[in-house]
Amino acid sequence: MTLFALSKTQEAGGHIALAAVLAVVGFFLLLPRPRGRFVAGGVAAVIASAAVFGAWVYTAFGNPLPDPIGSALFWFFSAGALVFGTALVVQRNPARGAIAFAFVVLSTCGLFLLLAAPFLMAATIIIYAGAIIVTFLFVLMLSQADGPSDENDRSREPLYGSFAGFAFVGLVLFTLYQTSQANVPAEPGQVKPDSRLPMTVLSAEERKVLADVVAKLDAPEANLDGDLGTATERAKKVTYFEEIKYAVAGVVGHSRLSTRGTLQSRLEKAPAREGTDGKLESPAVLFRDDPQAREALDRAKRVRDANFDSSLDDLSGPKPDAAKLKAQARKLRDEVALLYGMGELPADNVRNLGLVLYSEHLLAIELAGTLLLVAVIGAIAVAHRKGVVK
């Protein structure tokens, strides 16, 4: 059995190579040629290749998104992009190819939406809708549809061409795999010091806890408006808020000064020490020295303060101040929500994109505008008919 004992890397390489070879065979059989095009076999090989590729992605990188709907959409859109991309390449008729390209663009736009880029989705659809219509116009103008022609029914070196393309993809995927393996943390929750890509600051469990807390605090009115008078009602609320405060403290730390929450213990090598006068004596030494981690620790400190400033679990007085308690609950909720949103893109996509575009990339914008102008003039100059033949 030692003969077949492969390392994980070899196994991944084998999967990628199998997918690439199947894709080469499929494209070789499917690419247009005068005779000998074997459509059924080509489609079968391409589907087999896609299946091997998808299975490899699934086993190597796991299920893409934590929620089932997001995963289903991811697989749906990526399958759409690959299927219609294949159709564009192997289609004889350029008009049908343009339709397939439209579907590739739509699938890509779906992926943009999954990646929190709604403005890019809209912009891509608008721009490529125009581009595809113009392409259609050109196909109708320039491509005569009567019978087979050299440009549509022949391919240039279908075997070598598809081999070159898919060998390239296979190498890229293999490099991707090795990089992903090199970036797997040594133990869960920790970050390797030489890791090139920053990981998200919050772990999945912490995010779940915080989301839970936000959901519970979202309705402080309902919980504080009820009858605060009777002792049993108060006792119930005290347990309710105690649970919340305990959950928050588990993430950000159990007391004001010694900050050993799960977040800190993951990010800090040595925690910050405060002197007797309340000022920082020595700053925290971090596993990760990037802005995201520092910002997360700042946020965690604010959450901790809000957590200990609130007196939500202190309803023992005879007449608790409901308005003050509500304000405290809302403050805690806002801070927790901000911590929960660490490492997410701003929800206000269009406005933030505009801000980044016109504040940091103003020169690039001007250059792009100039490029468009030059391209328009160039297109007119190239297409202009000099000395019209009557």
Binding site: A81, V89, Q91, V104, S162, T200, A364
Partner: protein, 141 residues
Amino acid sequence: MTITLWHFLALAAALFGIGLVGFLTRRNLITMFLCAEMMLQGVAINFVAFARYHANLQGQVFVLFILAVAACEAGVALALFLNLYRRRRSLDTSDWQELREAGVPAATDDDPLERVTAEPDPTLTPAGARPAPTAEEAARA
């Protein structure tokens, strides 16, 4: 988002590769142009995935510039196609193979294309008597 980045990168690589194969093997200028656009789409997915991963908007800004450059490329490329078509009455890139490097043999198409024998349009034999022109028609002639 830790694990999902790799999915999007793998998908983008596959999309780029399919576009590359199409660009290398197809001979129709318009199909080649669409394949190049598809490669750009794969690159755009990469950028947006990295933007999501790093939680900043630089990648999305880059994709906006890709869109601008793609629009320029489309304009100039289609103008060039028009000019090339005017000279050779075909979109086949192999019609321009005299532009190849010196010493490289010419590519020949050995396999003849299947000729489809299109049936000619039916014609009707003229029947009946030709109507005599009226007075107005005669005057106009």
